[in-house]
Every structure is written in structure tokens, then in C-alpha cells.
Amino acid sequence: MATGVTLTIGGLALTVSGGDSVAKALALPGMGAFRGETNGNDVHLRLDERVELPECRWLHRFDIVEETAECRFGVDASGIYYYTFGDSGLLRFDPRTPGTVSLNTIDDPNILRFALWTAYSMTSLWRDAVPVHSSVVVCRGRAVMCLGESGTGKSTHTSLWLKYIDGCHLLNDDSPILCVEDDGVFVYGSPWSGKTPCYRQERVPVAALLRLEQRPENSIRRLGTIESFTALHPSCPPALAHDELCTDRMVDFIGGVISHVPVYRLGCLPDEGAARLAFNTLMA
């Protein structure tokens, strides 16, 4: 007997159904905070499905770093996308029915967590919502999303806002959901927050995106269209950049974001001055 629960993540209502994996998914860190009904079920995540892997053209191979599990992203002759996770995990997504993603049974909880993120990132791209690798601070009701390569100091920078600027809290420290909606661009908390247990069911208008680079002194500059694009694009799910159709959607999404929200480059030290410079520029 299949059971189903509803999660609301990034403004999408996800019905998660299947066998024992539903309870395992709900027991993952942070998931419980996103339980709840909304109007209608936008997306269906089907767990414990029998997913057959056909011949695929493999577009991208990568490792989930901390799990040492090799993953692949590919597409079959009819245009259906597949991911493999480690030895046995499988995901199937047909872009002609973008409201449904199927996963087989994945026992390892860390791989299941990543597979759920992947499933979300596929279906959400068709709803103008994308998980963006970033650390997000909310300041006086508006969000600043810090982007940058791993190790650049995104979390360090948002922690400086929390420490030195009044009225701030952390929304997410790894993979919040960025959405282009009718009334603006919003960022939502998510159950994927890296090593920081910050799982907030919250929707916040985005004040700015901030691409961080380590520099010997603090400086900030607003970016033009092309630089804004190249600042945000690498922080979107990287596997999707290897496929034409996904790239079409991603480019439209990024165009929607950067035409509404300013993007800045902050050359910074890990100090109070960097947080104050960014705050004074973005929030003044």
C-alpha cells in the first residue's frame, strides 16, 4: 500500500509517495520542517519505483564528494533524463510530464538526500524555481544571496552579517530555492543546508545577489548583464548545464532573475568591514 505525504519546498507542493522510503525521506535532517499542505499538488515524487535504465547518452559524471559515490546524468533516445547514484540509485524524469519524478529504492540516507535534491532540481526548473548554491542572510525582511566557489567564504561572510548587523538571520547555508514569481524574485529556505542545520520554511524577497571573491582589501561593484549571468550560472545545478533543453530553461530563468535583481561582486576579507560595505551598498 503506497503512502504519501506533502512537503512544500520553494513554493512547490510535493507529494512524496512510495513504500518504506517515504518514512526514510521524512526522517532526513530538515525535511520535517517542510511538511504541510498547500493548495493543489504541483509535483509528484514517486519513491520505490521500478526504474529501468535504458541505453543513455551520458552527459555528465560527477562524485558526491563526501559519499564517494559516482553519479551520472544522461538522456535516452526519446529525451527522458536519467541519473544514476552510486551502484544502484536511479532517477527518471520525462520533461514532457515535468510534474513527476521517479526514484528507485535508495537505502543510503546521504545518497537519498542528494537524490531528493536532484529530483527537486529537475522538476523545479520547469516551474521557474532553482536550488542555488549559496548562503543566504535575511536582513530587515530582504534576502542577500552570497554566491561563490566552495571555500570562498560564503558562510563566513553571512556569519559576519549576523554578528555585526542588527536584524539579521540566516535563511539557508547551502542550497536555498530561488524563484521567479509574478510579483518578483523570492528565495525560500530548503531542507538542504549543507553542514548548517538551518531549515526554514520561509519566503523572502531578494534584495541582491553577491558573488564573493577573496581579495586583500574590500571592494564592491555592481555587475552588468553578462557578468551577472556568469556570476549566477555556475551556482545553479551543474549537471543541467550539460544538456541543451535544460540550458534553455536555465538561461530563461537566469534572465528573469537578473532583470529584476541587482548582482554585485564583492572582493572581500573575512572581516567586519566586508559585511558593512556590502550592507551599506545593498541595503541603503
Binding site: 553578462i226 549571468f229 555556475p234 551556482s235 548545464a241 538561461v251 534572465g255
Partner: protein
Amino acid sequence: MKIDSRKKIRHVSGENIVLMPAAGTADMTQVVALNESALELYNMLKEREFTFDDVVKAMLDTYEVDEATARADAEKWVGQMREQRLIID
């Protein structure tokens, strides 16, 4: 020579860009931006083999320039397009 049809022109907030495949580097996106005249030449010459003289002719047909200017601009355009591998042999 011909235009590499695998590289697609995309339009973002009024800019015409081509995403370059990231050469094995994570966290990097490289794009080539084409201005309106570069894009116009691109559209006139795509989907067929063409010679340097075809580029010069396209310039002369489209813009009110003399032949020397057309040749100089054509050389510049072909050079830049080749450098970004948007034109292949």
C-alpha cells in the same frame, strides 16, 4: 569555413550570448557576447560554407562602407569568431 552550429546563441536581457563549454573547470561559466552587427553577420552566414569574400560581400550588402573598411572589419570578425571557435574549418 562555417559557423559551428552546435554553439547556440541565447538571448538574456537584451544581450546575445553563447555559453562556452567549461573546460574541465568547476564553478566557471564563460560566455561570448555578440553585438548586433556581429549577430547580423552570424545570422547571414550560418547554415552554409562560406569564404572570406562572402563575409566581405555580406558587410558591403548590409552596411554603407567602402571595400577597404569592409575587408578590415571582416578580418576582425572572422578572427574573433575563430578565436572563440564559433567559426570552424
